[in-house]
Subunit: 320 residues, 2 copies
């Protein structure tokens, strides 16, 4: 970046946009793309799915730990996972970004590359169709993502019925484990996040800094008749309880199906894996594997015993 | 608020959402509303319009000057104006909000009321269909708005043709004038924004703190055959130059049609009025009034003489 140090404040908005636009992924559904007051997107069936998510420097990421590419990647995949969890195909993203005027434009280029690579990897027809740039003391990325249900019913949280299979696609507890590594080993002597240490630990921290949620399995689950689904952002226990609440059932996990550390699997947040329920006997699609069953009752249980539904709360838990 | 002082950090996300949801406006186009991974909205013609905008404490607003109701109102109308500027009817909003954990929940309730009142006033079928809450040192509101073109072509910036009428609906320079009043008269002895002084000046500052853009005139303009349109966020001169650039024309303003202070009208930002071009002879719809003509050439001019296209830039101009 040494030959490329220009700040947002030096360049101004138009020049920054001119640098970023060519790097952004394009969307197949685009009718009108970036550059007007608004974009226009196609839908295949007269409906569109929409979700929004904020990433804030401090609570959600540290600039010492995440590369710009990580930030774009994670902002993309967390939103794509929400679209996937409805059983929809992601079609577009809008990105509103606020950064200090002293930020190097190369950081924004890296973020754009992260968006591009995540879309190419998980949802190649999806791209960035618009955005907004602003100045802020706090680096902030707000993403809104769109999806197309292709004529299918959206898969909600409310359709689980006793007797059905509870299944997960994607890792459990890996993002939390990676975060523990960062807090334990990627701090400097003064207790501040260390860029150098984070770089050295990269192999252990990818699940937190650049997660790889099973985006495509969302549509596969919908096609296989998933009766409820969500993406795991706040921890398996807390998120499963959302399905339990909305469906009026109990989600019972089998500890033998939750990996080496069932407690970590239950409370670890930010995996963005997919949790879904299916009729008994369904051949589970994609990478879905059974982790429990739906029972009569309320809340969640582990091997039949009631379990805490605590997880991550942005206001109660303060900082990541 | 004395009997109601509870912070976001004390309440936690679920309790905060439970307080806010009932205050939010609902959207007629909703198929699935807030509460799942994503919302689902109807479109009337297989397309949807989307725009996004960030409001950041410091550059975009001061908590001493704006009431919570103002913040919600302004965040809503600035996005509704972008949808209107495409010739679309606003159908929905998603709102991502980040605030310090010490924020009083009553502030978020006031913001929700501002969103509700703005939608009721300008676009009663439009409502908030989803959102996200986060913690941040910097109070930030990110809104994404959707619109329905109802089968019409979107009105872009690129359709102006020499000989056509240039017209504006809404005020010019009023938001900038109000901002000058705030900076000149609503600061305390230490040079910091003063809440008490801002309250006393309220009649002079509404155009900045709670603007009233002509949202409905967007669709009326589209129906009247507007050939180009945008909403005035960065100043008439800079924004008109965007139409001039995209259309390959010169926008020539008549100073006698720009009010008492043509220079203020040209450079004043944040009015969110609508600028459009129409075929000569068109009966101008709604509150549109002629302010100039489209000519051969490039850039903008005033009474036939080239004029600066400078306006507001979030990175170059730093703070409001």
């Amino acid at each position: 970046m040494a030959d490329n140090f220009e700040t947002l404040g030096e360049l101004g908005e138009s020049a920054v946009l001119a640098r970023i636009f060519p790097r952004l992924p394009s969307a197949s559904a685009t009718i009108i793309g970036p550059g007007d007051d608004a974009a226009v997107l196609k839908t295949s069936d007269g409906r569109f799915v929409v979700t929004t998510d904020l990433m804030v420097c401090g609570p959600d990421f540290r600039l010492e730990w995440s590369t710009p590419h990580d930030l774009g990647w994670k902002a993309a995949v967390t939103n794509l996972a929400d679209v996937a969890a409805m059983g929809a195909v992601p079609t577009g993203l809008v990105v509103a970004l606020a950064a200090p005027a002293s930020t190097n434009v190369a950081e924004l280029e890296g973020i754009a590359d992260g968006f591009r690579d995540a879309c190419l990897e998980f949802s190649p027809d999806c791209g960035v169709v618009g955005g907004d740039l602003s100045v802020s003391d706090t680096f902030t990325i707000a993403v809104t993502a769109f999806g197309d249900l292709q004529g299918r019913k959206p898969v909600l949280r409310s359709g689980a019925v006793p007797g059905q299979i509870v299944a997960v696609s994607g890792v459990l507890g890996e993002a939390a484990k990676a975060l523990r590594v960062l807090f334990a080993q990627a701090m400097d002597a003064d207790g501040n996040p260390s860029h150098e240490k984070a770089v050295a630990l990269r192999k252990l921290t990818g699940a937190q800094l650049a997660p790889r949620p099973p985006i495509r399995d969302g549509v596969l689950a919908a096609k296989a008749g998933a009766t409820s689904m969500l993406d795991l952002s706040d921890g398996l226990a807390k998120d499963a309880n959302r399905i339990a609440d909305a469906s009026g059932v109990c989600i019972d996990f089998e500890s033998s199906l939750l990996g080496e550390d069932p407690e970590l699997a239950l409370v670890g947040a930010e995996d963005h894996s997919l949790l879904a329920t299916f009729e008994a006997g369904t051949e589970l699609p994609g990478a879905f594997r059974k982790v429990g069953v739906v029972r009569e009752g309320r809340g969640i249980s582990l091997d039949g015993k009631p379990h805490s539904t605590q997880g991550w709360d942005p206001y109660l838990n303060g900082s990541v």
